[in-house]
Structures are given as structure tokens and as C-alpha cells.
Symmetry: D2
Subunit: 308 residues, 4 copies
């Protein structure tokens, strides 16, 4: 259960729980950490895009890292993407000093050419140190940087410290197949692939060669079950489980609204005390909340975990 | 069954059928036109983004318009988006002369400010003539132009010839609610809203105030059934039907791959003779094809139309 | 004076002259064609971005091509960039049939990765035919596609029919140096480089290895003189001439306003009858016009051609 | 000489001097601060885009603020743009506590609609406190956010603490005219406009209503002289001075290369000890350096300050 090129299963993208007054709710941080582990998650990723990282003061970020790392028995990955390498270096160092297993780095939105992308990650590795294990985040829809399979392969080849790809290109199934084919043919060394995009294609991604998921869907226990079913070759059962959750997964896959829905679900499941977000927050309307509750009701017919 | 501010139901976004050698397959064009009508579609939209319009010579575009308009008993809308107003004017004129019910106009990708967007549509209306009924296409994910509800309201207010909004913002549910609220309060006149995005949110969109769908999913007969169930207030039945199709709808919602999947489904359903695309085409891999077939198999358990 | 990999000098980016009522002013088209040649231009490029091409009906475009090609004694290049390859093929064919020397192709704005760019031009060449000589336009500021030197090299190597690079990256001096170094080292075959960006760096571009300019500045006679001085090794004289024009060159380098200024200057120089643009047009304000006139006055102290 | 809605003159965008080993060169920070004041600058802006702010650790940023604020007798503005409001709040507070006159805020690149822009600055003001005086930075070329005059007017009207516009839209002359016209007509309250873009249009900007410049050109003494000449109504002299510098101003206006040129000039002028940049740095090639030196030589014929 270490963070390595062979990591499998589900790394939860952790939400950051706040009290209604906007201060960090550390009790809920603990409960959430426990919940992810009890759900079978093999890792936890904190301070990612969905973790409201940019809304935290540096000291708060460090306090959260400390809290989660000390409590968690699974590897903790820290999102360190920042506009400058100085901030990345400093956050990476703190994270590793506190016991994080590694960090996650996304490309900066201005990158365009293949060379620019390759150079950016070379600079990032130079800044954080080539002994810090890291996850490459490939998320074109939000970050607006398109990384071709060949460029991913080059980055992975250039940097032994890159252990994992967080794959959330869309469409992305062929990308997984291509990367795994390159690996099979010996062009590319071993590395782990965990998939994001809220789980929208997690019925097929393991079949394509992914090792699991790294996402923050409100039912991480379903995600781990799904990945296990898939690993066990129980294809139909895996798809049945996935299909029952897809309406809600799809609903969560709405930028801005998604985080609100996740926190709403986690609160209704009794994991976090409040679904508050720090400003600027996009809170769900009454109608949206009712829609989510209706989806939960419908889901509960197939999956008792949703009967909340 | 005219094209008006009260239009309801499903306008099919028509694929353009080609022979394997790349020439237009007019027999399949006819069959597809009939199929959409037999599926209960209340309109047909041709030469949209998914209709491979930019791969057609001007003469070919006109031949397709003529063929579909002459055969169809439902209103035909023609996509006329082009980099310049001259081309738009000319295609709008041809379309209306041949009997189209109206045209569809999307914003040009370079637009940024509210004023620029408002002015663009004012110029477009001036170019095509203010007597040509048109659909405003709001599709930020692909066109990269974000139109706020207030700007949509202004465009609709400024131009009586704008009868319909093709809504495919994502997230977009609140946008529908806001526009309908503006209408209710008297700020905004009546107009039709049909939704795109492949139908990904069509379980909730009518509940928010949409009049139906304008999209090209390979089961338009399901779309019409869904919109009818929703209109009849049969909420659970509507969601049951939707949920059974969602895995495939979701699979189609992959840029590039989506069109290939649609044509594959339409071919397997016996509507078009070939799933050929003109170059540059993104054809599905063997694996992708097998995934779609697996999804069809699973769907067939709930919906006989998929047993193909 | 043919269009080849050894083309040198100045290819004028031709404005399209309209009457005040918006119809094409063919008399001014003729005068402009003559003017470019009398100014020493070694080629003329028509229907480019600054030629208001998207505002022309297809028949009008063809009429202009015909008119210019028949009159010009220098090679005529036709801009054929379009959202689809069908339109490009058709316009390329017409152009070559009418006697154009070649065509110019810009990347479509959606391209991101190196592979996508390389594939796009491969498809374009396949569409127009690999026997049609063409110019690769590299214009990131407006087209939003960044093409690295390596990708330019690959496109040039892949397609013997690509004879020239229209270079208008910014900053772009090092790009010229890199491409010429690749050529020197034998990695890259011979090709012509003409520079755009309104001439903003034309004092240094020939020193870096460019063969001249392809731009539409209102004083093409100055551009040809400048390129000749530079070719003759008269560095200081070249810079003196350039510096005297830079305030106006810089003023023209304002998107939207630029074309208005060019037409204003060409009209004041007696070359075209009207500075009208087709809609949507961005006409200069009174203040802007006065600023240009002031710059012309100041320029006239150094260059009699500006005494108009 | 306070920072107010009536601020005039030149606010220098300060470079951040490093030793060759990458550590901050505080002696040069002092010399640079003195140099800006001796050059007649009426303010200094630090930690802007050209100040390599993202390459600084938080403690380093604070050390620079302290150093400059304590030494400067003119108002010091601190750039606080950051991906999250928490970091902005924290840096604004530190800056004001240390004696800064105000802060500068740019829009985050993801903003698109007018409403989004207006709301962003409302959130920013809420985060930093409405008692902190600030500069609105309008820089579409780099930040990719287009702010129309109406939106600028709304932001200025909504927030009395916004005292100044850093104007660097391009083209931008009409924007200044429009904003000043709105002010004249009473629609808009008083505010200062200082212009950026390296000074590329500073010959005309004051005539349009700008109060001066906020930019980092290596000859701030020329900028102050130019603004003074313009204020004194000496139009021809102002343009003569400007024109002599334009070739170098233009050369500096190359993204990435620009900063290297500035540091090179400041080093050659004896103000900073090294032209080192922190990584990732874009250093000028030998050829580029020689080009700058040639431009300086030519400039020295008109302006002795360039004889270095």
C-alpha cells in the first residue's frame, strides 16, 4: 500500500471541510480521512483543484497536510500546482518533511507546444528535487493544456520520480490504450494510471489498462468496489454497479456545482459536519439540491449506501 | 408542427451519410430523414457541427438542404455558422429559398465581451435579414464563447426573428431556470429552448423549463419518448428510460469519437448504409466498437430498440 | 521572379478595395495591383486575413483572384484558410486553374499538440493536392496556434510542395535563426521565409535569415527599399529608413484599427478610391485619423513618399 | 506625490535584481529604487509580472516589499495577483502593514463574461478589504481577459478603493478616450490612468487622457521626460523623444525576451549588478544582445543616456 509505479485502487481526491463560518473543520478532516480509508481507498490526494486549495492561507494548507498525513495509514499525495516554481518547491518540501508520500503537479495553463510542456515538467522536477515522487496530472478540460501520449511518455521517461499519471483527458480511453501499448512494447517503463473526471468512464478505464481511480465522487466505497470487481474480471457486475451510480456521477460532473454536490452528499452521509465552501463558492440552488436528493433516492433502490 | 417560439419536442441533429468512397449517400439521407420523422422528431437540423458541414463543398451543402427539405414534413433548420457574414448570408438565402424553416447561428470563437457577442448577432441578423427565423446556439465547450443569461436575454429581445435557443452550456441547468424566470417576470418574451450536449442532462432539463432536445443521439425515438413522458408528468418513468440509455449517451459524449459512435449505431439500426466519415475522420478503434456493442447489448435488456 | 523556395523581396498582402456602397471596386483592384508591382514587390498575396476574405461571397473571391492574376506580372498567392478542407480544396483548385502561383494555409485555431498541427497540414496537403505550391502561415497571436521550430521543420520536410514560411510569430527573431541553423546543418531543406507582423521587426529579420517581408504596410515601396538595403549590406541606412517609418508601422499594428489605417494611407496615396470596409468594419475615429495624418506629416520629413 | 485618483507621471514597474547565483541582490534593489526616484518616477510598482514575482518564496516577497517601501519616498504599489483570494488577502495585508501605498490586482485568466469579471473584482475587494487602495490591471494580451469600457466603469463605480487603471489593452487608444468621455459626461468618477505595454503608444496616450505610464522600460528617465513634455503641450518634442526610443521600446516588447533586455539595459546603465533571472529564465542569445547594443548605439546619437 505504498505510492509506487504499481499503485492500484482508488486515491480519494479529498474535499476540505469547513465550518459554516469558513474556518477549517479539523474534526471533519479526521472523519473524512477515516472514511476514505474505511471505504477501501488505497491513497488520499489533498489540496487538489476540488480541495479548494487556492482559498487556503499557506499556514492552513500546511496544517491540513500535517493533520491528514499524521492520521492516514495510506499514502497521502499533496497537490502543489502553483503559478511559480518557488511556491511549488516550498510546498513540496513541507509536504515531504511532514510525511507525504508524494506530490501532484499539473501543467500551467499557458503551455502550448510539446517542447514547452516537456520543459515545464523538467523545471518543476528541478525545483522540487528529483527525489520527490510525483503524479503527473493530465486534465485538458480545465487546464487547457493538451498533452499527447508521446509527450506523456517523454516526461515519464525523463523523470524516474514520476510514478503515476492522473488521467483525466476526455475523450481519454484511447490514450490509456496507447500508453499501455507503448509500455508493453518496451518503449515506456512501468507507471501507475489512476483516472479522474469524476469517474465518468470508470466502467471501461480499467479494461483499457488503468489501475484505478483518483477522484472525489461522494461514494468512494463504490469506486473501490467497482475497481475490485473489474480487477476480478466480473465485468457485468462492475457495469451494473457503475450504471446505477452514473446518473449521480454525471450530475457531479458539472464544474462549480460538482463540489457543492460532493459536499452535500458527504454531509448527508454523515462524514462532514457542513457542506460550507469558502468564498467564492458556488452553492447549489434549492432545485439542484432536490435533484440530487431525488437521484440519491433512485440510487438507494440499487445501492443501500445511498439510503441516507 | 411549425418552427416557432412555441416549438417543442425533439429536433434531430442530422448526421450526413456518406458512401464508403466519401460521396454523399442520398438514399441514406432519405432514409435518415424518414427515420427521424418516424421517431417522432418535430424538426430536423442539418449541417450542424456533427453533420460534417465543413467537409462539404458549397454545392453539396445545397444539394443536401434541397433533398431533406423536399422530403421532410417537419421543419428543417440549417446550420449556417461560418467565419464571415457573406457566407452566412448566402447560405441563409439559399436555405430559405429552398424551403427551410430557419437557420442556426453560433457565435464565432473569437468573441469575448458581452458587447462583442451582442454586436456579433446584430451583424448576423443584419446579414441574413431580420425576416429569417433563427436559432441561437449556446455551446461554450466547443465554441469557447460564454454567453451569460443576461446576454441571451438581450439578443432575444433585440431580435424578434430569434425563435429558439439551442442550449448546450455545461453546467446549464441553472441557466434554463434563470431564463424561464426572466420570462415569467415579464422581462423576456416567449422563446423555445431545446437542449443539446448529446442529451446528457435531458432527465432534468424539461423540469427546468426546456421544451425538449436538439441533439443527434442514435436513438431519437428514445429522446421523443423521454420528452413526452416528461411532458406528461411521468417523472419516474422518464428517469428510468433515461438512466437505461445514459451509459451510451455518456459514451457518445466524447468529442470526435461521438460522431463515429452515432454513425455506428445508425448503421447497426439499419438507417444508414455506411458509417463512413469524410476526412479528417476519427474512426472508432476495434476496442471502442466492441465497447459500444457491449453497451448496446446491455441496453437491449431495458429497451428493445437496442437489440440490433 | 517565380514563387519558389528561393523567393526573396516583398510579397504585398493586398487589401480588397470596395466602393463606399460595399461593392468591389475593380478599378482600384487594378490600380492596387499595379502599385504593388511599381513598388518593387516580387509577389502579391490576396484573400488573406487583412484582405477581408471572409466578407466576400465565393463568386466575389473568384472574381478578385481572376482580376489580380490576369493583371499581375508577379506571382500571386491566394489565402485559402477555411474551417473545412472541402472549401480549401475547392478554392485552391479555382486559384490554380486561374493562374495563381500558389496558396497560403494557416492552422485552424483549435490545434494544440505538435501531432495535431503536423496532421492538420498533412490533411490540408492531401485535400489540395501535393502538386499545389503553398505557403505555411505561422501567426500565433491571431490564430492562437503555437508552432515550434521542430514542427515547422517537420511540415517542411514532409511536404515538398511547401515552398515558403510566412513568419509572424512574436517574439520571432530566434525562430528564424533556429530554422536557418537547421537548414545550414543539413537537417532541413531550402525554403523561403517572408515576415509579417506588419513589418515590426523587419530591421532585424533579414539579418537573421529572412528573405524579406509578406505584409500589407501602406508603403510597400519602403519595404522593398528596406529589404534591398539590407541585402546590399547597408545596415545603417536600412535601420535609418526603418526607424523613420516605425511610428506608423507601430500604429498600424493595432488589430482591427490596422486595416482602417492601411486603407486610409492607400487612399491618401491615391491608390484606392475609397477606404471603405465591408461590415463588420472597424472604422478609425476622427482622432485616430488625425493621429495617422500627424504621423504621416512627421514621416514626410524623412521620406517624401509620405508627403501626401 | 501620493497614490490617489489624481496620480500622474510614471510608476516604474520594478525589476527584481538577483545575484548570478539566484539569490536576491538587495544592494541592487536599493540602487534600483533610488534610480527610479532620480529618474523622476512618481511611484514604483513591485512584484508585477515583470518582477518575477512567481519565482519568489513568500518570505522573499515580503523582504523585497519591506526593503523598497522603507527606502522609497514615492508611493509603492505591490502586485498581489494570485490564483486564490486567500493569498491575495494575506499579501495585501502584509504590504499595507509594511507601508505600501496600495496593491495591484489583475483578473484571473479563466474569466469570460462581463458578470464574471465584475464579480471577481467584488470578491477580490471583499478579500483584501475595501479600505485598501488598489490598481485595476487591464492586460488582455497576457491575461486573456477582455474588459470592455463599460465593465471597467462598473468596477470603478462599485469600488471607491479602486484609484487607478493600469491600462495595457492593445489596441487601447479608443478605450482611454471612451473612459475619459464617460468621466466628462459625469457617468464615471475621477480615477487615474497609467499605461503599460512597455510604452509602445506613450506618444499618443497622454493626448487621449492618460495620466502617464506604468511600465518597466530601461529608460524611466526618458518616460518621465516624455510625460512631462506631453503635459507641457510640447507635442513635437515629445514625439521626437519618443520616436528616438521606439526601436528599443519595440525590441523590449517581446514576451520573455523583454525582461532579459530590460535587465541587460539596467545593468549596462550601472543600476543593477547582474542581469541574472531566476529559472525558468529566457536569456538573450548573443545575437539578441548584439542587436540591443546596436540599438543603444543608434539611440545614443539622439539621447546621451544611451551612451553606455
Amino acid at each position: 500500500m505504498t505510492f509506487s509505479t504499481q499503485s492500484k485502487g482508488v486515491y480519494a481526491i479529498a474535499a476540505t471541510p469547513f465550518h459554516d463560518d469558513g474556518t477549517i473543520d479539523f474534526t471533519s478532516v479526521d472523519k473524512l480521512t477515516d472514511f476514505y480509508q474505511e471505504s477501501g481507498c488505497t491513497g488520499i490526494t489533498i489540496l487538489g483543484i476540488m480541495g479548494e486549495a487556492p482559498k487556503l492561507e499557506p499556514d492552513e494548507s500546511r496544517a491540513i497536510i500535517k493533520r491528514v498525513v499524521e492520521r492516514a495509514k495510506v499514502p497521502v499525495i499533496v497537490g502543489i500546482s502553483a503559478p511559480g516554481f518557488a511556491a511549488m518547491r516550498s510546498l513540496a518540501k513541507s509536504s515531504m518533511d511532514m510525511g507525504a508520500a508524494g506530490v501532484m503537479v499539473a501543467p500551467t495553463p499557458a503551455l502550448r507546444t510539446d517542447d514547452q510542456i516537456v520543459n515545464y515538467f523538467a523545471s518543476a522536477v528541478e525545483a522540487i528535487g528529483d527525489d520527490v515522487p510525483w503524479v503527473l496530472q493530465d486534465y485538458p478540460l480545465t487546464l487547457n493544456v493538451v498533452i499527447s501520449p508521446g509527450v506523456i511518455a517523454k516526461i515519464i521517461s525523463d523523470h524516474p520520480s514520476c510514478l503515476m499519471l492522473k488521467h483525466e483527458d476526455w475523450p481519454g480511453l484511447e490514450k490509456i490504450s496507447k500508453l499501455r501499448a507503448m509500455q508493453k512494447s518496451g518503449e515506456l517503463r512501468e507507471f501507475s494510471i489512476l483516472c479522474g473526471n469524476g469517474g465518468m468512464f470508470l466502467d471501461f478505464e480499467p479494461e483499457r489498462g488503468a489501475d484505478g481511480a483518483m477522484t472525489g465522487y461522494g461514494f468512494p466505497d463504490m469506486l473501490t468496489e467497482l475497481v475490485n470487481l473489474s480487477a476480478a474480471g466480473k465485468r457485468d457486475e462492475a457495469h451494473d454497479l457503475f450504471d446505477s451510480h452514473l446518473p449521480l456521477i454525471r450530475y457531479e460532473q458539472q464544474l462549480g456545482v460538482g463540489l457543492a454536490v460532493r459536499k452535500h452528499v458527504l454531509k448527508r452521509r454523515g462524514v462532514i459536519a457542513s457542506d460550507a465552501q469558502r468564498k467564492p463558492a458556488q452553492m447549489p440552488t434549492q432545485t439542484a439540491r432536490a435533484e440530487v436528493d431525488y437521484l440519491l433516492e433512485r440510487l438507494a433502490k440499487h445501492d443501500k449506501r445511498a439510503a441516507i
